[in-house]
Amino acid sequence: MITAAVPERENYLNNAYGIKSWLLTRDHKRIGLLYLFTVTLFFFLGGAFATMIRIELLTPQGNFVSSETYNKLFTMHGVAMIFFFLIPAIPATLGNFFLPMMIGARDLAFPRINLLSWYLLVIGGLFSLFAMLAGGVDTGWTFYTPYSTTYSNSWVIATALGIFISGFSSILTGLNFIVTVHRMRAPGMTWMRMPLFVWSHYATALIQVLGTPVVAVTIILLFCERVFHIGIFDPTLGGDPVLFQHMFWFYSHPAVYIMILPAMGIVSELVSVFSRKPVFGYQFVAYASMAIAVLGFLVWGHHLFVSTQSVYAALVFSFLSYFVAIPSAIKVFNWTATLYKGSISFATPMLYAFGFIGLFTIGGLTGLFVAALGFDVHVTDTYFVVAHFHYIMVGGTIMAYLGGLHYWWPKITGRMYPEGWAKLSALIIFLGFNLTFFPQFILGYLGMPRRYHVYPDEFQVLHVLSTAGASVLAVGYLMPMIYFIWSLRYGKVASANPWGATGLEWQTPSPPPVHNFDVTPIVTHDAYDYSTVIGQEVEVG
């Protein structure tokens, strides 16, 4: 295993061997790795579906797959990516691993529940995947009624039930995080000394706990409607299909913040470490996370602008949507201000952080475009919206996720990744990403609707550019897969604190011992006080 060259010191990886020691572990670090493995699998599955979508869109005629297959492809792509990759991606992997360590705890408050939530994700994920493959679900990831309840085939319900199950995984993770942050902080770790990564996970956890149950009950109602045909979402029986959209988006808009807030937490860490300065306006950034969590619950109606939602409600939701942009903007400004006069190093994680800031800004600003009623009526359900959310979810969340993986890789495995290859892949991902998704803004603005596989000839150039970009992107994503695995054996052995970072997770050996710290740390400084690490070696950058 990885420990070959390391002098035998007991750590969480070598304290027990065998499949059982993983499947029954209660160690948050091992569970984090189980999640890492799982979500990576779903990421590549979702990626495979995306590849087929992009191949189909190379030509204006639908000549690679049929319309039905195409509908199934984008449904499977969306479900796999959103529910089984993006939502658990950062909190359940890096959050699970580092949240307890960053506050000086030995584990999460409820380790057994933590393991249970991994099983729920796996069961829910496999269940949905099976249902989608076996039944060919074609509703899109949003399951809108009455199509899903009356017209499409019944496998849609099985798919939704898988999401229901994995929803409990998300709820339990959130619950665990909240209790851990409240009750398990090391002596001296006051709220205003917590790393911003912890703050943003705390905010995320609030959303998971408050929002997810609503989508769970919505899925139950969907189930009842489909099986007993009781009319709750069926207009022919006096039901209101738009009510489904309300309930769905009450969760799913906040859920986009489940995806982005943890990413913001990572970026706060990276920007600070690699410019060796405390995050500018720490308190504002911390409170901005909380503000996003709260305000995120007040704007869901902006997804219903072209439904029968009343004009007045639409006005209010449009207006409120602008308020969520404020805390997001505060963060972007404060990261930028942190760079000012910093001694910036361009190590790979920092490249990803820069990528995040740029791409998230574009995604957020176009969010403001589509939150404007008049403009949205023009671009809704076009590639403009597709580009908007991919800029945030792929350009934002996945960039930060990869940045975080590189940053903490030495801590997780005790090995460095190869810096040259990593820089190259970061560059490839950035270029590939923009080539894939920027043309989609133009396509959408020109009127290319989403979820269609046949399109007018004049759109072909932009579609070809996008598919070309997707191929570049795919290469970019495969590279880290390969060199991460390579580094497990051949990577340079990492010291305890290779970046000269201040977080508690760096005050313990790499890889960490089973209960993280041999002695419970006592915190005496603010989160990003670099005077505490002066003189510690900086290996890279």
Binding site: R106, V209, P213, A216, G231, I232, D240, M247
Partner: protein, 227 residues
């Protein structure tokens, strides 16, 4: 009130490694339970939302459909559930005082009352089956137009969904009580360690609160119309 905070780590078998003290462990469990109850609030909340929407849309039909429920059975069952909450709180009190026999006694009483509630509920549901008030192809509500039938069916869909979900929580609660009784018989709970009883109490009272709202919302809509 664990007196041995400082050395609890080595001494108490109930203390898990991630915690420093029993007080910390208990606080964590309590907070966890309350957060869980909040997720339940949002879960039932979705149902209450749907109820609000359709009662607002079809107030007249909902009133007529509601008055076909037996209000006296509903009220009596409410009393049964409140009694069970009373015995539950006494069980928790007994645990706080370390009265082991009393814990068991009150938990068993709670269990019996919970069982009665579920029995009555089953009786009521069964009646609905006989009256064809169960949503589905055989649904029929006497003296209504076809479109009104659909709206009445909405009421009964909500009736079954809400009482069904509530009953499911009761069943889980009954399972929990059985577990607590078993453990109490083994003498696991004392004045020093009674967290499970405490948390069980929170859950049971929460389920009671849900019913406190279900009863007026389902049984008591404009009763005066029909008397």
């Amino acid at each position: 009130m664990p007196a041995n905070d400082a050395h609890a780590h080595a001494e108490s078998p109930a203390l898990r490694v991630q915690f420093d003290t029993e007080a910390q462990q208990k606080d964590a469990s309590t907070l966890g339970m309350w957060l869980f109850l909040i997720t339940e609030v949002m879960f039932f909340g979705g149902m209450f939302l749907v109820y609000t929407v359709y009662r607002n849309a079809y107030p007249g039909i909902f009133a007529i459909a509601s008055s076909s429920l037996d209000v006296y059975i509903g009220a009596a069952n409410t009393v049964v559930l409140l009694c069970s909450s009373f015995t539950m709180v006494l069980a928790v009190r007994a645990a706080q005082l370390g009265q082991r026999k009393a814990i068991i006694l009150f938990l068993i009483l709670t269990l019996i009352l919970g069982g009665i509630f579920l029995g009555v509920k089953a009786y009521e549901w069964n009646e609905k089956f006989q009256e064809h008030h169960v949503p589905g192809s055989s649904f029929h509500f006497e003296g209504m137009q076809p479109d009104e039938q659909a709206h009445a069916q909405l009421f009964f869909s909500l009736y079954f969904a809400m009482t069904g979900l509530h009953a499911l929580h009761m069943v889980i609660g009954v399972g929990m009580l059985l577990f607590l009784i078993r453990q109490a018989q083994k003498g696991r709970y004392s004045a020093e360690y009674m967290t499970p009883v405490d948390l069980g109490g929170l859950y049971w009272h929460f389920v009671d609160i849900i019913w406190i709202f279900l009863f007026p919302l389902l049984y008591l809509i404009d009763r005066h119309l029909k008397g």
